[in-house]
Amino acid sequence: MSTLEIKDLHVSIETEQGTKEILKGVSLTIRTGETHAIMGPNGSGKSTLASTIAGHPRYTVTSGSITLDGEDVLEMSVDERARAGVFLAMQYPVEVPGVTMTNFLRTAKTAIDGQAPALRTWTKDVKSAMEQLRINADFAQRNVNEGFSGGEKKRVEILQLELFKPKFAVLDETDSGLDVDALKVVSEGVNRAHAQGNMGTLLITHYTRILRYIKPDFVHVFVDGQVVEEGGPELADRLEEEGYDRYVKGAGSAVAAPAAAQA
């Protein structure tokens, strides 16, 4: 049993107009086996939270803490966080020139586990995980994400989630840009990883539709860098009907996300 604990997290970024605070005191505790959905309109800071957990250099933590089983995550470099068991499925996975998927997956697995995976089982694991995610076998020889469609990139993120077996998975809008079939395939991948029983999940999404396939235990509504409401899965249903309008108005934010129109 592991715990990822976020306490009163304040995060800012540098913009051309100066420093801008994005997260204004976020607290959240995720334990092994739990799935937390973070929902909110565009610009509410959901992705900032995801990137900050992974350690993206663009985001500066001004106060608060993130700990993994008591260890200070903010003190760790990006690669150390990954080796400690944090996995970020990115919203926009980048194309990495010159590195084949095969080589990349093996190198990352070796780094995370601290030793090279046994070749025979590894090859088999990769192959079957790819099949289950309906990823073409020839992707293994292609460069990481190079020329992959948006949906293919998302599947490859979940492929890594299944292969690297993190303690905590942060899924940053993994559902965006997916059609219904792809959404199902990707959700099944997350559910398989979850079913192993050793992972906690932080699922960041704008829409409720992925929650039909991945059942959250907790739903947190994020507006203007803060959690404004928390509840169980029923909260997601309510959001589906009502959208984010009342929160956005309540927060007095200029973010005019027409969530209802997008739902």
Partner: protein, 413 residues
């Protein structure tokens, strides 16, 4: 974010392409406006480029000429002057079966000069001042297990060296010839290659100069009927390197592959130019140069000319240059030029892509647990390995992989 500019022109297939007549695009005379040159030579057809054995035909370049515009000519005065070598500036060690090394060739002694006709000032003064050319001849039907190795070691920065090497692979032979350049000098070196009928020859030119070495070169090859020629330029060291790799054909069914790999650090100028002259029908060519750049003032240039002449029906050709920019402050120039005078070809294409390895790539790999130094190595090694693995000489492949790693490690400091 990734700043990747990719242009990939479609391969040109059979004649039914818009804009192409059966005679091709007629690029040569009609597209060139000769009245607006502004002192800079307009890019005319490659076929019109002057070639000559006579030094007097080539003025000293100013840097404004089309073929010199990327090159720091002001730093090359010593190399461009019509001057003899400085004594024993170059040590040449040859590892080859005894029967392969022939007497040296003086200017005018066949086959010297039959294929390599100098195409610029550097090449003409090099050959004019190289009294004796090393002559390596692979006997007909010979198949070599071990490569022929010629190590040219410069014995002093700023000291002038002229050389001319002739390699002739006789009928149906198979061989690999490696030219390794190390030490330091102002080296002006021409290489002339004959690949006779049915022969298969690979020439690898490795530039591992010290930081103050300068090297200008013209490598010309003529590939006969059904022969296969591979030229691989690997440039890692030297302050200024400019290597022209040219090929033309002497019979149908011939193949040429011009490959290159370069890694420029701060302050290095590494320039590669290739020219495939499809002067004969039914020949195949493939050009691929890949380069990495890191550090302030690292500059690479690739100019790839392919000319498919009117009579060269059935030609299949492709050329591509890819650059990987690892840090700020680098400059990669990449210019593919394709001239097609007949539409009756199998294919012709060109591509150029310059990508950056930036913070987002690094973040992605590190977010998967991969430490920074490993991430950089992974990317660069993967990128350049495509060329290294085509050398097919394991010992050299290994040494070059290590040399690339050293380049990377130097960039971390």
């Amino acid at each position: 974010m990734t700043a990747e500019a990719t242009t990939e022109k479609a391969r040109i297939g059979a004649p039914s392409i818009a804009g192409f007549t059966e005679e091709g695009e007629q690029l040569v005379p009609s597209k060139v406006d000769r009245h607006h040159s502004h002192g800079v030579q307009v890019m005319a057809s490659r076929a019109e480029r002057l070639t000559s054995h006579d030094v007097a035909d080539f003025a000293l370049p100013t840097g404004r000429e089309e073929e010199w515009r990327f090159t720091p000519v002001r730093e090359l005065a010593n190399l461009l002057s019509d001057a003899p070598s400085d004594g024993d500036v170059l040590n040449v060690a040859v590892e080859a079966p005894e029967a392969f090394v022939q007497r040296t060739l003086r200017a005018g002694e066949a086959p010297r000069g039959a294929t390599l006709v100098p195409a610029d000032r550097a090449a003409v003064v090099a050959s004019a001042n190289a009294d004796e050319a090393l002559f390596i001849q692979v006997p007909a039907n010979a198949e070599l297990d071990e490569p022929v190795r010629v190590v040219l070691t410069g014995k002093g920065a700023g000291r002038r060296s002229n050389s001319h090497v002739v390699v002739e692979a006789l009928e149906n032979s198979r061989a690999v010839v490696i030219l390794e350049h190390d030490g330091s000098a102002d080296h002006n070196g021409n290489v002339e290659v004959f690949v006779r009928e049915g022969a298969q020859l690979t020439v690898v030119s490795v530039q591992l100069w010290e930081d103050d070495g300068k090297h200008l070169a013209q490598h010309d090859a003529e590939v006969a009927k059904d022969a296969v020629y591979k030229h691989i330029a690997v440039t890692l060291g030297g302050k200024i390197v400019r290597l022209n790799s040219n090929v033309r054909f002497a019979g149908e069914g011939a193949e040429a592959e011009l490959l290159g790999l370069y890694f420029a650090d701060a302050g290095q100028h590494l320039e590669h130019r290739s020219f495939v002259d499809h002067n004969v029908a039914n020949c195949t060519s493939n050009v691929l140069y890949k380069g990495a750049l890191q550090g302030k003032g690292a500059h690479t240039v690739w100019v790839g000319d392919v000319l498919i002449q009117k009579q060269a029906e059935g030609t299949d050709s492709y050329e591509k240059n890819q650059n990987l920019v690892l840090t700020d402050g680098c400059r990669a120039d990449s210019v593919p030029n394709l001239e097609i005078e007949t539409g009756l070809i199998e294919g012709a294409g060109h591509a150029s892509a310059t990508g950056r390895f930036d913070d987002e790539h690094l973040f992605y790999l590190m977010a998967r647990g991969i430490p920074e130094d490993v991430a950089r190595r992974l990317v660069v090694r993967g990128f350049l390995n495509e060329i290294i693995q085509k050398i097919k000489v394991p010992a050299l492949e290994e040494r070059l992989t290590e040399a690339v790693e050293r380049e990377l490690a130097a960039g971390d400091n």
